[in-house]
């Protein structure tokens, strides 16, 4: 019962994250949205670990947290780089290559 609620929470978070990725033009906001998605996954994993009574979910979640940290590190570095080159972090300006 509880687990189902957690799953719902995960789904909502995931949706919010997806919406953020699609809708936001600000690179940092997009990064944050992705974090939301990853956390939704984490919630799912933990919830399932509870439901299934296995440790794998926990381990998985830990890995996800670690990886997410690394990803955000890289991501922020990139955002900084863009900012340095363009003085802007609006993503829709990043469309030099197309077609």
């Amino acid at each position: 019962m509880y687990a189902a609620n957690f799953l719902l929470l995960g789904a909502v978070l995931f949706s919010i994250g997806v919406f953020g990725v699609i809708a936001r033009r600000n690179a940092v906001m997009v990064l944050m949205s992705i974090e939301l998605i990853l956390n939704a996954v984490n919630i799912n994993l933990i919830a399932f670990a509870l439901m299934n009574d296995s440790a794998e979910g926990h381990v998985f979640a830990l890995y996800v947290i670690a990886v997410a940290a690394a990803e955000v590190g890289v991501g922020l570095a990139m955002v900084l780089m863009i900012y340095r080159n363009r003085r802007s972090i609006a993503l829709d300006e990043l469309s030099e290559m197309r077609g």
């Binding site: 799953l7 995960g10 995931f14 994250g17 990725v21 690179a27 997009v30 990064l31 992705i34 998605i37 990853l38 939704a40 996954v41 799912n44 994993l45 919830a47 399932f48 670990a49 439901m51 299934n52 009574d53 296995s54 440790a55 794998e56 979910g57 381990v59 998985f60 890995y63 996800v64 990886v67 690394a70 990803e71 890289v74 991501g75 570095a77 990139m78 955002v79 780089m81 863009i82 080159n85 363009r86 993503l91 990043l94 469309s95 030099e96 290559m97 197309r98 077609g99």
Partner: protein, 503 residues
């Protein structure tokens, strides 16, 4: 639950050091490179390339010894979640070789571009390490970790030309979409884990094989495949690829279009064959559509490109479609030939595509242009490069007796082996697509053979030695594998992976 865990007596697993030697060599090498880079004078940074190359070749040694020793049951290590079977070894060898060629390609590019060298090679090595691990991963978790390990350095490498806005754009797009796709993948994985109660692929497979899949399972399968489809730039998840390929430094593009794609396919293969085979009704149509779309759209858009790298990017998208094609029938009797077809395709495609990028680099050093028209008159002033490019592109177009024909043949073979109507339909679509593909490859060849040199500049092209070596490896591979495909087809006889499934 945790108490239960603790209650288990801690028992140190017996580790087969030989089996994981390639990874260990790589890890050691990465550290070595990192360490030496700190102490190396700027003027001697070229040595980093050599060193990295040696690390990759060093890691190749245990792959070979493992293959030679063979026979041993090595799937026991890590509880069957990390296996060293022939399938893994073949792909490990592929990744290491591709890594080596990319190192050769990068050397001059980095030196002349004045980019950071030491760091680049470290990242490259790390990414290769991720791929090498991917080949052995048999668990959702290890697949995920390997995937991130190979991806994150790649994001950075794509943006390596720091001051070039195109490179920035390439890196950011790749990064954002990559991470987003990872999120989707992970969400799917979490659902998969939740509905089957395990992350071990074989167990997932066993669980899925029982009865019809639930809604959540369907969703999980779709999301997981979507995540990998991004990695292999299948349409409609390919959008990042052209932009990134065009913006990234050429060696990185080559790396992404070959190694990264191959790694994505490796993951997809493993997951499909071990985990999702039971959900035939879900992944077969999905992959069928993806394959058809990928090859068709990749091709028709490639027809319109004027930039050669971008054209090759789309070409690589469409090649992805061909590689994907046999997987649409993997749940039938043709499972084995489908698996073989994908592996063969990945192997041979690596040679031809890398070779094409090598030529592009060599020519671009002179012309300073990425336009197809800059290849005009190449046969006149650099016949060697012209012939090589002809060989690579003809191979990509699937013309015997050059490399990829046998791969394409295998793909068709798998489809027709399956024999269903859907399979035949896909085969016909693919047949038509080979023609469209030929059209744009021929466009480049036309420039090379038939057009005059732009601005009448017919000074010879200087090809630096590392690229010469890279060209020799790729051209040799393309031609030899085309004429004697038996050399690699043997590797694709993969009883370990499929044997586990009872195919």
């Amino acid at each position: 639950m945790i108490t239960a865990l603790l209650a288990q007596a801690w028992q140190a697993p017996t580790i087969d050091w030989h089996a994981i030697a390639p990874e260990l060599v790589l890890v050691a090498g990465i550290n070595l490179v990192l360490f030496i880079d700190l102490w190396l004078d700027e003027s001697k940074k070229w040595a980093m390339a050599t060193l990295s190359g040696m690390v990759l070749l060093g890691a190749f040694v245990p792959v070979v010894t493992l293959a030679v020793v063979g026979g041993d049951v090595r799937d026991a290590i890590f509880d069957g979640r990390y296996m060293i079977d022939e399938y893994a070894l073949v792909l490990k060898g592929l990744f290491l070789l591709v890594g080596y060629v990319v190192v050769l390609m990068s050397q001059t590019e980095l030196e002349e571009g004045g980019y950071y060298q030491g760091e680049f090679y470290v990242l490259l090595l790390v990414s290769v390490l991720g791929m090498v691990m991917m080949a052995s991963s048999r668990d959702l978790l290890s697949v995920f970790v390997a995937l991130e390990l190979l991806s994150i350095p790649a994001y950075m490498m794509a943006a390596w030309r720091k001051r070039d806005p195109k490179s920035n754009e390439a890196g950011v797009k790749y990064y954002l979409l990559g991470v987003f796709a990872s999120g989707v993948l992970l969400y799917g994985m979490s659902l998969l884990y939740g509905t089957t109660g395990t992350t071990k692929l074989t167990e997932i497979g066993a669980a899925l094989a029982i009865g019809d899949p639930s809604v959540m399972q369907v969703l999980a399968v779709v999301l997981v495949i979507t995540g990998f489809a991004f990695k292999i730039s299948a349409v409609p998840f390919h959008t990042w690829a052209p932009d990134t390929y065009q913006g990234a430094p050429t060696p990185v593009t080559a790396f992404l279009s070959v190694a990264s794609k191959a790694a994505g396919f490796t993951a997809l293969l493993t997951v499909l064959y071990l985990g999702l085979y039971g959900a035939t009704g879900v992944h077969e149509p999905y992959i069928w559509v993806l394959a058809a779309l990928t090859m068709t759209i990749g091709n028709v858009v490639a027809l319109r490109q004027t930039n050669i790298v971008r054209m090759l990017a789309y070409s690589s998208v469409s090649q992805g479609g061909f590689i994907l094609m046999p997987l649409a029938v993997m749940a039938t009797d043709a499972a084995e030939s489908a698996l073989r077809a994908v592996v063969i395709y990945l192997l041979i495609y690596a040679f031809s595509n890398l070779g094409a990028f090598c030529v592009i680099m060599a020519v671009a050093r002179k012309t300073r242009s990425g336009e197809i028209s800059s290849f005009g008159g190449l046969m006149g002033y650099a016949p060697g490069l012209g012939v090589l490019m002809t060989v690579f592109l003809a191979s990509l177009a699937g013309i015997p007796p050059l490399g990829i024909w046998i791969a394409k043949l295998q793909s068709f073979r798998a489809l027709i082996d399956a024999g269903s109507t859907a399979a035949y339909a896909l085969a016909v679509i693919a047949a038509v697509n080979t023609v469209i593909a030929a059209a744009y490859y021929m466009r480049v060849l036309r420039q090379i053979w038939m057009a005059p040199a732009p601005d009448g500049d017919t000074s010879p092209v200087v090809v630096p030695p590392p690229i010469r070596l890279a060209l020799a490896i790729t051209a040799g591979g393309t031609v030899v594998l085309g004429i004697l495909p038996g050399l690699v087809l043997r590797f694709a006889d993969l009883p370990d992976l499929t044997g586990a499934l009872g195919f």
